[in-house]
Symmetry: C2
Subunit: 515 residues, 2 copies
């Protein structure tokens, strides 16, 4: 599906340090530390920090004081996007490619050669890259690309992964963060969620009861009261002490398992939400959110205590929209990201719009806000630019665009840019808004939502209609046509996976083919 030429990775800016006292480095730049704080399944509203124009009822439910602090010290992004589910986002992040381009369009099963799609009555299983990302060629059903941590490592960064990995299936190189450029890996493997958040349950590592989701590497906490989020934070700080001490620039991929299911209570924070009258499952969820927020605060405190906060960039992001199926969430389905429509799995805003923050001392003006839309594959060129890595030799063609210009100027706007989402799968049994076999495209404030199954097209103007309630497709056929053509052109160019109908054995029509 994806062909590419093998180019040997070379060290772009060789850093040769000998411990006999010499450093061979002529024109090597000073490189900042970079932390990507990536939350799992966190929605745009899952914070006391409002990412919309004003504080919503949902914002008032949650307590995330450290996100508020980070926002005061950095820039908020109100129009930041990921993909509808996690692995596509994580692969886009590491490769700079749109999910429809790299071909890992769904979450990967921990088991190799296993299609994680839900069976559908009308569609054949979709032919996508079910084994995930691979940093080496020749691995069946993988997207072969150069992950940016490899480039950071080559440039002298101390690269650390902590938490959820979920880049590739067991039995492939992508299962192991060490193969993706990370020098330290703690708790990252082929699974997409934890079997348990509880040390009292050994995070799932109970003989005869363990699933592939049992969390590795944390045996020292077994039997204690240490919630998974806390254990990962402690381990991250432990790993950071090496580069901080030796003054080596570091990249930390702090990828929390929180707030993914199983929605378990973080006892440190749970009770106050119950006392506030919250639904009990939602109180658990809020406790997962606040535990995650504490982790952010603990890291920020650590950087300050070590005097490296001024040289450390922190990027806060989530990997897809907030889960809004109920159950497992409490309350009514599709209400958990209001005013956004739907949630995880959907191409509507609730499934893809993310809380995003960037602190970059000396570059980003504290307390600023950008409404420029961007998407997770933009992180690849942005992080390389932050790390001063120019013209990296990589396998893939990068779709992402660096948002460093936005960071330097919150007024920077680009309304010609096109963003694309493509989810050619059945995610779950139930049907839901924008869930199962949908694509979408945004340009400026216009967004086209396309049902691959029915061929239906919807058009929204997000400027006035954040909740995607007013379909303007009938009133604006020219815009529908323009966006249909743009979306179709990209999917064709990228040879994107498409669902195939059982009746015809033909792939579904692209949006410009079904007028």
């Amino acid at each position: 599906m994806r062909s590419s030429k093998w180019i040997t990775l070379t060290t772009l800016l060789p850093v040769t340090v000998t411990f006999s006292g010499e450093v061979k480095a002529a024109d090597r730049p000073e490189r900042p530390n970079i932390v990507l704080f990536l939350v799992d399944d966190m929605g745009w509203q899952d914070s006391s920090l409002p990412f919309g124009k004003e504080a919503t009822p949902l914002n008032k439910k949650y307590h995330t004081p450290n996100m508020e602090l980070l926002a005061r010290e950095g820039m908020m992004f109100t129009n930041a996007y990921a993909t509808p589910v996690c692995t596509p986002t994580r692969v886009s992040l590491l490769t700079g490619m749109n999910a429809a381009h790299h071909g890992v369009t769904n979450w990967t099963s921990p088991r190799k050669d296993t299609n994680s799609e839900y069976a559908d009555a009308e569609m054949e299983p979709t032919n996508w890259l079910i084994n995930g990302l691979s940093p080496v060629p020749g691995i069946d059903k993988t997207a072969y690309a150069t992950p940016f941590p490899e480039l950071l490592k080559e440039a002298g960064y101390y690269t650390i992964h902590v938490g959820k990995a979920h880049w590739g299936s067991m039995g492939t190189p992508g299962a192991n963060p060490y193969n993706l450029g990370f020098m330290v890996n703690i708790a990252g493997h082929a699974a997409g969620h934890p079997q348990s958040y509880l040390a009292g349950e050994n995070y799932g590592n109970i003989p005869q009861k363990a699933t592939p989701q049992a969390v590795p590497d944390l045996e020292e906490y077994f039997g204690s009261e240490t919630f998974l989020t806390e254990a990962l934070t402690l381990e991250a700080i432990k790993a950071l002490e090496v580069p901080v001490r030796d003054k080596i620039p570091f990249y930390l991929n702090m990828a929390h398992y929180a707030v993914h299911t199983p929605i378990m209570s973080d006892r440190r924070f749970f009770q106050k939400y119950i006392d506030a009258g919250m639904d009990s499952i939602e109180a658990r969820y809020a406790s997962l959110i606040e535990g995650m927020d504490k982790s952010l605060g603990d890291l920020m405190t650590f950087f300050k205590s070590k005097g490296v906060d001024k040289s450390t960039i922190i990027i806060f992001m989530s990997d897809n929209g907030g889960l809004s199926l109920a159950p497992p969430r409490g309350g009514k389905p599709n209400t958990h990201n209001l005013p956004l429509k739907a949630g995880k799995g959907s191409v509507y805003e609730g499934g893809i719009r993310e809380p995003m923050l960037v602190k970059w001392p000396g570059v980003v003006k504290p307390g600023t806000k950008s409404e420029q839309y961007l998407i997770v594959e933009d992180f690849f060129p942005t992080i390389l630019q932050m790390a001063k890595i120019k013209k990296p030799e990589i396998i893939q063609t990068v779709d992402g665009i660096s948002f460093v210009p936005v960071l330097k100027n919150p007024a920077y706007t680009d309304s010609n840019r096109v963003l694309i989402w493509h989810y050619p799968h059945r995610w779950v049994n139930q049907e839901g808004p924008g869930i199962n076999y949908y694509s979408a495209i945004r340009k400026g404030n216009w967004k086209l939502v396309y049902s691959m199954k029915s061929g239906k097209k919807e058009l929204y103007n997000l400027k006035d209609d954040l909740g995607e309630t007013n379909d303007l497709s009938g009133q604006n056929p020219a815009k529908v046509k323009e966006l249909s053509a743009l979306l179709s052109d990209h999917l064709r160019k990228w040879n994107s996976p498409l669902p195939v109908r059982k009746t015809t054995q033909e792939p579904v029509s692209l949006p410009d083919e079904n007028y």
Copy 2:
């Protein structure tokens, strides 16, 4: 049981490297790379390289060409010792303390607060440090000490652990090699053996079937043909590429799970042993040995290919004597270390004497041999001396003595040195020679073996009686008395764990108390 003062670890020879191009290092020495290649349960005879005066029938069964190569490039030690079982050896190694001194006198259960001893009719459970080693104070039932990898890390080494750890139980800091000074950990945790060597069995990580012995961190190999020994070697090489490229001195703790039970066939080598007419279980065992030897060769080849072989010390060692219970071994029990008596679990030579090799380019003369006796706690001061770390600030009092003088001069001898073994436990159900509640002491060629249960003392002269067949205690009461006093003095001074009789509720007599 063990009291000590908390002394803050400080960097002895601070290495401050900044990536802006400066290195603050005035008088920092050039440090060699150090590899400890530690095999599990490998006996003194489990090699085609004879560690005795001549090749034995057992030597002729095995194929270990890379050990032979290492011997040609370094020094053989014919009188190197460990303890009768694995965790005591591993703790002695990391702390420099005799097992009777640190108090972790038996293997640790992966489960916290769990005494791994076999129940005995006469003795109460022994009060020993059942949770293993701890690098921090205040952890219940642990030996608190400063592990040398922490000192190496402080001195600028890139410290890597690969394979079996088994230093502490789940739920304690010692479960995690990251807490013991390692910057990278692959596959090391609280368990003492692998659930499976087979990638086809996911090294044990099968949902609902996993035990605490399921090997972590190797998901990329699941479902492949990669034998565990090979996977660990590949991961070690992957981890080594970082310090090799950046010219940072490294310490690799290459701690194979091989050749511990389960005795599984390494298919790459198995068939030729069957074709040679070997018993089928022994053919499996020989294949485990040869797979381990290939790993040694692959590492040596890697160092040569990277041009670091001249700056890399390789120490080859095993952690206790070869297993000689049958089953699980094939053939007759207590024959697997001949001409040595007994095997793993015993204080007779078969349980404690180890194959040991050291290559140190520029220091050790190739192809040399030393008959100086030494023991595994000596590795602590030796490795620190190799790394040029002087006067480390550590918690514990070190019992080991550096064998660097031996490495520099194979004729170096010290026959006044005293070595002590102390195993105050029932290891297994069956009784066996020197197994269950035995202590021993060696000084010069004299060795006293003491049964704590019966009070019986045996005296051997190893010079003429390597097989410990001729008890000279009746003929030489003065030597018995001298060694009894020396052994007792040490156990008293160290406040060593002692078995307690159920009938009297009193500890057993020390050897100088029962004349």
